[in-house]
Symmetry: C2
Subunit: 414 residues, 2 copies
C-alpha cells in the first residue's frame, strides 16, 4: 500500500482511565509530525458522537506543551461517550452519516481509543468503510482499567489503576489495624466481569499489607461461603480485610446489588456497578456484630494520575504513536496490542490484532491463577501484574496540586 | 528547672493521619539522642491503653533507618486507641494505675500525640501528676486531619489530608465531566464538626477543577436550600459537583444519617460518621431524576501518605522534636502548636500552649471565611490553606509500591 494523503480523526470512548490522554498525546504528537501526509489532525468531542455531529477540534491549534501535559492528565480531555452503533444490516443511518462526514473532511485515518465496546464500534465502522469502498485506515487504541480486552497481554490504563489500588490498599491496611478492637474492612474495586483490578490488592498482600480474602467475578459468588471465610479470619485475627469486585455474581447470574434491589443499565445494557461493598458490609455487621467499614475506590481508581505507573503511561503513549505509524505504513482494521516476551525481565512488543478478533470478547483471569478456595489469587497473578505497575508517573505540580493539561479546543472549520 | 533524669514514653491516640508517625519519628529520633538524660525511650502500644497494661516497646531496639521511614508511613505504627479517662474526682483508678506504671518504669517524660480528646486525656494526666506531686514533664503533640485543635494555627495531619483531597477532587472533576450527559457528583469528606477538610476541595476549584458547592458543618444544613442550590447549578451546566462534610447537621442537631435512621456512637459519645453523601445522592437522584454518584473519601483521605504535603510532614516531625526538647528544657503541661507569622510568605513559629486551653475546645472555620449563602468558602480560606499543602512527600518505592516502616516492636522488659 502506498501513501494515503488525507486527514486524521481521533476519538476517546468509554470510561476514562489515568492514561487515556497519554494515548491521545501519543496520537497527536506523532500525527502532527507527518504534515506531508496528514493534513489536519482532528480530535472528536465525545467520541463517535462528536463525529456524527461534526463537533471536533483542530489539534494543530493546541500548544504542544499542553499536548505533552496530556501524558499526566487523567480522564478524557476530548470528552468520551457510551454510544452503541446498531448493526449496519439493521440500520445504517449512523454509518451513512459517518461516511458523509469522513468524505466532507477527507478523513483517511480514523483512530479510536477505548475498551471492548469501543473496539466493537471501531470494528463495525471499519467493516462498513471497506464494504462501501471508502479508503480509510482504521486503528483501535486500547484502553481500559478493567484489563479485559482480548488478544493483548494487558491494556493501557490497567497498570496505573492497579498501582493506585495496591498503594491505597497498603495504606488502608495500616489504618485498619490501628485500634486493638475488631474490625472488618471491605474494599470494593471496579473491573466489571473481570477480576484483574480487584486482584491488584494481592500486590499489597505480597508486600505484607494486604487483604486476607479476595473475591473475583470469575468465581460464582456464594454468600454463605463468603461469610464463613470472613468469620474464620475475623475470629482468628480480630481484623479482616476483604477485597471484592463490583462485578461479583451469584451462580444464577445476579449481581450483589440485585440481591437487594433494582440495578439500572447503560446504553450497552451493562448494569451500573457500585454498592456491592456496602451491601456486604451490612450483612457482615448484622451477622458478626462487629465494626465493619466498606470502602469503594469508586472513580478515584480510574483517575488517580497522581499515582500513575510510568510503565503504563509509556505504553499508553506508545500505543497511540504506534497506531499512527502503523496506519501511515498501510495497516488498517487492527488494534494495537502488547505481546509479552518470554524471560524473567519484563519486555513487551507491540502487536497489531485484527479488530474482529478483539471486538466484544472479554479476557478474564485464568482459573489456575485463582486459588482452589476461590478466595485469593496465586503468585502467577503477582508475576503477571507486578511489572505493569513499575515506575512512578505523576503530573507536574503547581501550588501544591497537579497542573493538568488545558486544551484550547478550537473547533474545526465546518 | 534543672535536668530531670528518667525515661520517656510516647503514645499515639485517636484516628490516624498520614503524618502521625512523622511526629513519632521526631520524638524517637530526638529522644534517642539524649541518652545522658533520657535512659529509656518507650513507645506505648495503643496509647494510654498500652501504658495501663504495661504494654510498650523499647524504641532503642529499632533500626534507625526504619524510624526514619516512619516519616512517610501513614497510620499509627504503635497502635492507637479511643480510651476516655474518667475525671479523677469521679474515679481515679486509671490515674493511680498510671502513677504506678510511671513509678515502676521511672517515666519522667510523657508525650501524647492526638487531637481534642487525646489532649483532654493528656491534660487530665498532667494535672493528676501535679496534684500527687509526681515529677513528670508532660507534653501534647498535636495531630488531626480535622484541624479543629484550638489555639494552634493549624494541626499536623491536616495539610496532607487537604492535599490529597484537593488532588483527588481535581481528578474526579475531570472524570465527572467526561460524558456530555448530566450528572451530579457528591464528595463526602471527613472533619467531624469542623469544615476545614471539606473546604480543601475549594483549592481544586481555585485551580479550575473543583466543586460548584461546598457544605460545611459550621452552617446549619437545610435540605431544601441544598436541593435548590444543586438544581440551579445542574440546570445551568448539566454537571454539578458538591462537596459535603460528613458532619453536616440540621438546625435541630441531627446528622444526615440520623435523618434516615440510627447512628452508632463511640466511647466518647461521638456519632460514627460516614454515609451522608450516599443519603444525599439518593435524595438528589429521586428529586432531579439524573445520574448521581456519591464518592466517600473514607479512610483513604487520612492515610494517603503517597500524596503527602512535605510542609505537613516537616512540621509533624518538628512538633515531635520540639515536644522532646521543650520537656528536656523544663516545660510541662503544654501542647506544641504553631503560630503563623505575619507577611505574604508562609512561616510558622512553634508555640507551647497550656493543655488546659487546648483540651476539648473545637476550632471551626470563621463565619466570614464562608460565603453569605453558606455554600462555599472565600479566598481567605485559600490563603490560609494553600501554604499547608506545599511540597510533595511520598514514601520510597519498592517494586512499584511504597516501602513503609517495619518496626521490630521489642517489648520493654517488665
Amino acid at each position: 500500500m502506498g501513501t494515503l494523503k488525507g486527514n486524521l480523526i481521533f476519538g476517546q470512548s468509554g470510561g476514562p482511565t489515568s492514561v487515556i490522554n497519554a494515548s491521545a498525546a501519543g496520537v497527536f504528537l506523532e500525527a502532527l509530525q507527518h504534515g506531508d501526509v496528514i493534513g489536519k489532525v482532528y480530535g472528536a468531542a465525545h467520541g463517535i458522537k462528536g463525529i456524527l455531529a461534526e463537533n471536533f477540534y483542530d489539534m494543530a491549534r493546541e500548544d504542544p506543551a499542553e499536548l505533552e501535559l496530556l501524558k499526566t492528565t487523567p480522564s478524557s480531555a476530548l470528552g468520551s461517550c457510551r454510544y452503541k452503533l446498531k448493526s449496519a444490516d439493521v440500520d445504517d443511518t449512523d454509518y451513512r452519516r459517518l461516511l458523509e462526514v469522513f468524505r466532507k473532511y477527507d478523513i483517511r485515518y480514523f483512530l479510536y481509543n477505548g475498551g471492548n465496546d469501543s473496539m466493537d464500534t471501531c470494528n463495525k465502522i471499519s467493516k462498513y468503510m471497506q464494504q462501501v469502498g471508502y479508503e480509510c485506515r482504521i486503528m483501535g487504541v486500547p484502553k481500559t482499567i478493567d484489563n479485559d480486552l482480548f488478544g493483548t497481554d494487558h491494556c493501557p490504563g490497567f497498570g496505573s489503576a492497579a498501582k493506585y489500588i495496591a498503594t491505597s490498599t497498603m495504606e488502608v491496611f495500616l489504618d485498619a489495624r490501628v485500634y486493638d478492637t475488631g474490625m472488618v474492612t471491605i474494599l470494593e474495586v471496579m473491573g466489571r466481569n473481570a477480576g484483574w483490578l480487584t486482584a491488584a490488592t494481592a500486590i499489597a498482600a505480597y508486600k505484607g499489607h494486604g487483604p486476607d480474602l479476595i473475591y473475583l467475578p470469575e468465581i460464582d459468588f456464594d454468600l454463605d461461603r463468603f461469610m464463613a471465610d470472613v468469620r474464620a479470619v475475623y475470629e482468628r485475627e480480630k481484623k479482616c480485610i476483604v477485597a471484592i469486585s463490583e462485578g461479583l455474581k451469584t451462580a444464577d447470574g445476579r449481581y450483589i446489588p440485585e440481591l437487594v434491589g433494582e440495578v439500572s443499565r447503560d446504553a450497552f445494557g451493562h448494569a451500573q456497578m457500585g454498592g456491592a461493598g456496602a451491601i456486604l458490609a451490612n450483612h457482615v455487621k448484622e451477622t458478626l456484630g462487629c465494626k465493619v467499614r466498606a470502602i469503594e475506590f469508586s472513580l478515584l481508581q480510574r483517575c488517580a494520575a497522581h499515582c500513575g505507573s510510568q510503565t503504563d503511561v509509556d505504553e499508553a503513549v506508545l500505543a497511540g504513536r504506534t497506531a499512527v505509524l502503523a496506519a501511515l505504513a498501510g495497516t488498517t482494521d487492527r488494534m494495537v496490542g502488547f505481546r509479552r516476551q518470554e524471560g524473567t525481565e519484563y519486555r513487551c512488543d507491540v502487536d497489531l490484532l485484527p479488530l474482529t478478533v478483539v471486538a466484544n470478547a472479554e479476557k478474564k483471569i485464568p482459573r489456575e491463577w485463582i486459588n482452589a478456595e476461590g478466595n485469593f489469587v496465586t503468585d502467577d497473578y503477582i508475576r503477571y501484574a507486578l511489572p505493569l505497575i513499575q515506575g512512578e508517573s505523576s503530573p507536574p505540580m503547581e501550588e501544591g496540586v497537579p497542573r493538568f493539561a488545558r486544551l484550547r479546543k478550537v473547533s474545526a472549520a465546518r
